[in-house]
């Protein structure tokens, strides 16, 4: 596909020029999107329209642009993106372009080049081989060519999804008063479609998944091939292992719901033993961990990234104690993800939301509406919130997917 911005102005409504321009575009088999229209208030006032014209290929676009110019619709002259060299490792030039998570293009030598990996709050690095990537601040190096200013950068506007998908049947972004069974069925459908497309499903889990008793459901989904990648923190992995080794989550017996004596130390003892084995995988191999989400991840080869935090106990040996390393590890695992399930996780959900391109369908499940809102407020507009108990949600989702 090739597209270009054109502008036509004058008495284009009364002269039927705008109508003609649109007809010419459609007659050529091309498509347009009205970017901006300013219609004169009286018949003396001029009007102005800006359209993005899209054709199958560059040649068709060039022909169409020539035809359109006859009617006064001319290409909006756009400058190439301005580049500046990085002079210090990990420090961007002042005035660097700060990215969104939307599909973005950069104009270089008169051509629009797609950014390979849209990610919000990053800089755009133009590599010597012509490839264009986003990089977070800490990963830029001396001599990297960084896009500065707004010239020559264009961002695709998010479009309302069309067709049958769960984003369509929701009229609000956050759903607390929708029939949950229907929502769960729709999420399951999206997961099936994603897997059929060969894309990956990411689960981001908070400790409440284990506390609410949803661990076995998530474990079954991992074992059933419905989760391809897991992001979590020390707490989720610890309580998952604790619940399988000792039957408690943070000392509370999951079967009976009552605290055990000295149960407050259970998770520390589990962490300590896993540390003795050297890693979760070795603890599984040694037979110390015999079930649960982490167990299924290890035995089914599902990669996981555990990000640490300042309040972690232990932590487990697999936890990235350096948060920058954790984010980089998550970033490296993301390509190919088509659906993200954020399950009762505030911090990891937001951290993941920051890394995801806008095209990834994101379902944020939490009992607290504020978590969902927070994710959207931070720019992950593609997130659909489902306000419900994660335990009930996960079990029902599992029932849909795992027979």
């Amino acid at each position: 596909m090739a597209s270009e911005l054109v502008e036509v102005e004058g008495h284009i409504i009364d002269s039927l020029i705008l109508a003609k321009v649109l007809d010419v575009i459609l007659d050529a088999g091309a498509d347009y999107r009205m970017v901006d229209v300013d219609i004169g208030k009286t018949n003396v006032d001029a009007s102005r329209a800006r359209l993005e014209v899209t054709c199958d290929d560059d040649e068709a676009l060039a022909n169409l642009l020539e035809q359109l110019s006859i009617h006064g619709a001319n290409r909006v002259t756009t400058a190439d993106a301005r580049l500046e060299s990085c002079t210090i490792d990990g420090v961007l030039p002042a005035g660097f372009y700060s990215t969104t998570n939307l599909p973005t293009q950069v104009r270089l030598d008169g051509r629009w080049v797609d950014i390979e990996n849209p990610e919000m709050d990053c800089a755009i690095v133009v590599r010597s081989d012509g490839r264009v990537r986003t990089e977070p601040m800490h990963r830029v190096h001396l001599g990297d060519q960084i896009v500065v200013g707004l010239d020559g950068v264009r961002v695709a506007t998010p479009q309302r999804p069309r067709g049958a998908n769960p984003f369509e049947f929701m009229s609000s972004e956050v759903s607390s008063e929708k029939p949950k069974e229907l929502v769960v069925a729709q999420v399951a459908d999206r997961m099936r479609a994603t897997r059929a497309d060969g894309r990956k499903i990411l689960a981001v889990c908070g400790p409440a998944v284990i506390h609410t008793g949803a661990g076995p459901a998530i474990a079954a989904m991992v074992a059933g091939g419905w989760i391809d990648l897991l992001f979590a923190g020390n707490g989720f992995a610890t309580h998952d292992i604790e619940s399988n080794v000792l039957g408690t989550s943070l000392g509370v017996l999951l079967r009976e719901g009552r605290p055990t004596e000295h149960g407050h130390a259970n998770h520390l003892r589990v962490i300590n033993e896993v540390r003795r084995h050297g890693s979760i995988a070795r603890a599984v191999e040694a037979g110390f961990v015999t079930g649960g989400v982490m167990y299924e991840c290890v035995t089914h080869g599902v990669p996981f990234v555990l990000g640490g935090s300042v309040r972690d106990d232990g932590p487990l040996p697999d936890v990235h104690a350096n948060v920058i390393d954790a984010a980089d590890a998550m970033r490296a695992a993301l390509p190919g993800v088509g659906v993200a399930l954020m399950l009762a996780s505030t911090l990891h959900a937001i951290a993941t939301g920051n890394l995801l391109p806008a095209g990834v369908e994101t379902f944020c499940v939490d009992i607290n509406q504020a978590v969902v809102t927070k994710l959207a407020d931070r720019g992950s507009h593609q997130a659909l919130g489902i306000v419900t108990d994660v335990g009930l949600f996960a079990r029902e989702l599992c029932d849909h997917l795992v027979s």
Partner: protein, 276 residues
């Protein structure tokens, strides 16, 4: 009905250096010789007819090497004391512009220019009707010039795409007669242009293609007199039925270059924005 509020004062250029020296429209053929004596006699006849109808004629000095300077309609767009000089499509005519600008500057007109990269051939492609300026585009003028023209003059411009190369200027397809009537040649326009004019002119005198190619739309209207290069009988009858007086001023030598009576004149008393 009200007669046109403009068209009583014209700029013309004597055909001292006129000839078909190049070919920039389908009518021009260099092998066809222009008879200078006959051309001068026809031009003098046109001046006389215009003056008889009550118009004033002012003169632009002819310049050697600029044969088409006689077609003053293309010099530019006049709006009160403002003059927007043409930007000619063909380099053969670009040399006319400084002479046109000199004439208007020396008479106290304000000269406002179009950008360098857009073409517009003056009143040949821009005729006022009611409260708008109808402007042609494609062969000689660019559609994008219309927005600039509107910005410079304040006029509401209606754009019409010309589609027949034999009618390469708007003034071969359109001639305002009064506040309701105009001679129109829809064969010269695309379907959008036809709809625009249809909406604009309450009582059109519609020419068929043969009548249009006789240059009868390329006429000069002075009050109730229509000065025409030739007049098909049907057209003459309609004009007379409407109360106009037809005065034929043959300009056959100029038709060899693709120009008729209107092309040889530029109305100097046009006020855009306070049109009919």
């Amino acid at each position: 009905m009200t007669t046109l509020p403009w068209g009583r004062r014209y700029l013309m250029c004597p055909p001292v250096h006129f000839g078909v020296l190049y070919e920039i429209n389908p009518w021009m053929h260099r092998e066809v010789r222009v008879d200078p004596t006959k051309a001068r006699a026809e031009w003098d006849g046109l001046v006389r007819t215009l003056r008889d109808a009550g118009a004033e004629v002012e003169l632009l000095d002819p310049v050697e090497g600029l044969p088409d300077l006689v077609f003053t309609a293309n010099a530019g767009v006049v709006n009160g004391r403002q003059f927007v000089p043409a930007r000619f499509r063909h380099p053969e005519r670009a040399g006319e512009v400084p002479h046109d600008v000199d004439w208007f500057t020396s008479r106290g007109f304000t000269v406002d220019e179009l950008p360098d990269d857009v073409h517009h051939e003056g009143a040949g492609d821009a005729l006022p009707f009611r409260d708008v300026l109808l402007s042609g585009y494609r062969f000689r003028s660019d559609a994008s010039s219309h927005a600039y023209l509107s910005r410079l003059t304040g006029a509401a411009v209606r754009s019409v795409e010309l589609v027949d190369a034999r009618m390469y200027h708007l003034d071969l397809t359109f001639c305002p007669l009064d506040d309701r009537r105009a001679i129109v040649a829809p064969d010269g326009w695309d379907s959008y242009g036809r709809r625009v004019v249809e909406a604009l002119v309450p009582e059109p005198l519609v020419l068929d293609v043969d009548e249009a190619l006789s240059f009868c739309a390329n006429s000069v209207v002075v009050d109730r007199t229509i000065v025409m290069p030739m007049c098909p009988p049907r057209v003459g009858r309609q004009l007379e039925a409407w109360g106009f007086e037809v005065a034929v001023a043959p300009v056959g030598e100029f038709l060899k270059a693709g120009g008729g009576c209107r092309c040889l004149t530029l109305a100097l008393d046009v006020h855009l924005g306070v049109l009919a």
